[in-house]
């Protein structure tokens, strides 16, 4: 089997603060194969966006930096050690990124076509006409009708869903193999949300695009993802194939998240919640970060951090007291 398109190993990100360094992302590991959609799930502040920012080397502040680990692209280059000029070729060229709010992430004073051709002309040395043709083609691919007409429109002339399509077009302009989608449907209507997810799955099939989908919506995960990694307090607490995570999760946080989904009428009444607040930076609990909110927590959980164990080839778990039967395929 060919090596994974992207292999993240023990990636850690720290922030320098007045109270000393704080860990934002803690030894996160996962692999992304060709054509795979990986869901990165967690509450706000769990480190899912920060992990992706670290992958493309665009951390939001100079006080935040990668403190360890590696990000291997196509089994070759380690992105954490690339020169800035080489990293720029990776951004847009190998890894594209789309964001939650297309209105603010598109330049309002440049036409959609301008933003697409700008990337194409920067990454591939092609002339204006050729770049424009490619831009029309990519707009067509993301489902914008009459792309030759709409290419000169400005973002404000597009509707919300169209804008998200346009942002996908801008991100895919230079044919990256990987797309990082940071909550791409959170700001959209439910109907439009479904269309965008459909589009992402189409693109995966047609282009063999690998996608990291950041979301806090397990419904979205259930619809489109192949693999799921659940993050809590900067760590991945459970990772595995979608089926296993949705139907047979073992980490109390994962099961808690699944129980919180408002499911269509099977149990009426109040939506379930996980008691307590997610940890904030600077007040990270000792031991397992989830133990203050966990019903199964013991003394051990407060003292020692659970090791990340691959108890099955593709299913990783970091918990002292997993829920349910674990079919040990050999505890590594």
């Amino acid at each position: 089997m060919s090596p994974p398109v992207l292999s993240v190993r023990d990636l850690s990100v720290i922030a320098k603060t007045d109270q000393g360094p704080q860990t934002l992302v803690d030894r996160v590991s996962f692999e992304l194969n060709r054509g795979e959609i990986l869901g990165l799930v967690g509450e706000s502040g769990s480190g899912k966006s920060m992990t992706c920012r670290a992958i493309i080397g665009l951390l939001p502040s100079s006080r935040i930096s990668i403190s360890g680990g590696s990000v291997i692209l196509r089994g070759k280059s380690d992105l954490t050690h690339l020169e800035e000029s080489d990293m720029r070729k990776v951004r847009g060229g190998d890894i594209g990124m789309i964001f939650q709010n297309p209105s603010s992430h598109l330049d309002p004073v440049m036409s959609i076509g301008g933003q697409i051709t700008e990337s194409i002309r920067y990454h591939h040395q092609v002339n204006r006409a050729e770049a424009r043709n490619r831009a029309i083609e990519i707009l067509h691919q993301v489902g914008i009708s009459d792309p030759a007409q709409r290419i000169d429109d400005y973002p404000h002339e597009f509707s919300g869903g169209m804008r998200q399509r346009a942002m996908i077009a801008v991100a895919l302009a230079c044919n990256p193999e990987i797309l990082i989608a940071d909550e791409p449907t959170t700001a959209l209507d439910v109907t439009v949300q479904a269309q965008i997810l459909r589009l992402l799955m189409d693109l995966r099939e047609k282009r063999e695009l690998s996608i990291i989908l950041i979301t806090h919506d397990l419904g979205v995960v259930a619809q489109v993802c192949d693999t799921v990694a659940v993050m809590y307090g900067g760590r991945i607490c459970e990772r595995g194939p979608k089926r296993e995570i949705i139907l047979d999760a073992h980490h109390p946080y994962t099961t808690g998240l699944i129980d919180c989904q408002p499911s269509g009428g099977s149990h009426r009444g109040l939506v379930k919640t996980i008691a307590g607040q997610p940890p904030s930076q600077g007040s990270m609990p000792t031991g397992c970060a989830f133990h203050p909110r966990c019903a199964h927590a013991t003394k051990e959980c407060a003292q020692t951090e659970p090791a990340a164990v691959d108890y099955q080839p593709n299913h990783m778990l970091a918990c002292h007291h997993p829920i349910g039967e674990i079919n040990e395929g050999g505890r590594a």
Binding site: I56, L58, P60, R88, K89, V90, R91, G92, G93, G96, M97, F99, N101, S104, H105, L106, D107, P108, V109, M110, E118, S119, Y122, H123, Y154, H156, M167, V170, A171, A173, C174
Partner: protein, 312 residues
């Protein structure tokens, strides 16, 4: 192209504004205490000669008739005859408009040449010493009155260092340039201070905006992100601030032209007021008003060109 449609109907909208301004100017000019003919003739004036000259300039007519003549002339593209200079006001303005245009145009250009790089540097090195120096300088630039700055510049560059003439305008292009450097500097220092502060704040906000992050995520180098995405978005508020300041500057030339003895519109206005030369004061004030309106109109055109979201 429909975003430029306002260019067609804006002049029609501006007509009532200009008529309103003409009424205000007309009434204010005539509220200046004193009488143009007495000022012209001084002690020499006999009651007969005063009456004769009053009739010659139509000053014996009722006020509303005089206003009507003023407006009628304006529509014919005339501004009446100067009582003091005995020539057409329009012709008079024609001889005086160049120094004022050169003064305003040069100052604005120089202010932009100072403000844009300084704002960019200050924003890029936010919180570093260079940022603090630029911010301190622009705060200081706001605090100095123009006439005081002008005198200080003359003292330093003309009298101590003998680099530039103390005053005047000159005849050849080279002479004019030499004479205008200190006036330009005087205006540009104050103007660039306002622009730098404003532009620095806009650039800072845009540098950390989502769209700039997205542009970086496309692999664009920082220079492209800055000049093609950050700068155009930052310029929109500054263009409007600049337009307001040019309006203020047009009347502000009165002070600068007086200090540097530049034979422009400002001087003409001052002299017109002292001699109660109604036609000249009306004409110059009307020209200033039209220029201000025009500058704001151009700012709107520029804003629409930069920002397609703006609807006018």
């Amino acid at each position: 192209m429909h975003r430029y449609r306002f260019i067609l109907y804006r002049p029609i909208q501006l007509l009532p504004v200009l008529i309103g301004i003409s009424i205000i100017i007309f009434v204010l000019v005539r509220s200046i205490p004193g009488d143009p003919v007495r000022a012209l003739l001084g002690a020499r004036g006999t009651p007969e000669s005063i009456l004769r000259i009053r009739a010659q300039f139509g000053l014996d007519e009722p006020l509303w008739t005089q206003y009507f003549y003023f407006i009628e002339n304006l529509f014919k593209g005339e501004m009446g005859r100067s009582i003091l200079y005995k020539i057409d006001v329009l012709e008079l303005i024609g001889t005086r408009i160049e120094p004022t245009l050169v003064l305003v145009g040069g100052s604005v250009l120089l202010a932009l040449l100072i403000a844009v790089p300084l704002a960019a540097i200050a924003a890029k090195y936010r919180g570093r010493p260079v940022d603090h120096i630029i911010r301190l300088m622009s705060t200081a630039g706001l605090g100095f009155p123009a006439f005081w700055l002008a005198i200080m510049l003359i003292l330093l560059f003309s009298i101590q260092l003998d680099l530039f003439p103390v005053a005047g305008y000159g005849k050849t292009f080279g002479e004019k340039l030499h004479h205008m450097i200190l006036p330009w500097l005087t205006v540009a220092l104050a103007l660039s201070a306002v622009l730098t502060r404003n532009l620095r704040a806009s650039i800072l906000a845009e540098l950390h905006s989502d769209q700039a992050t997205a542009a970086r995520a496309r692999g664009l180098p920082e220079s492209v992100v800055f000049w093609r995405h950050v700068m155009p978005n930052s310029l929109v508020p500054t263009v409007n601030l600049l337009a307001i300041n040019i309006g203020w500057l047009i009347s502000g030339t009165v002070v600068i032209e007086s200090v540097f003895a530049i034979p422009g519109m400002g001087q003409l206005l001052i002299r017109g007021i002292f001699t109660r030369d109604y036609m000249v004061v009306q004409g110059v004030a009307m020209t200033f008003a039209c220029a201000t309106v025009f500058v704001n109109f151009m700012a709107d055109v520029l804003t629409v060109t930069i920002d397609p979201r703006v609807k006018l």
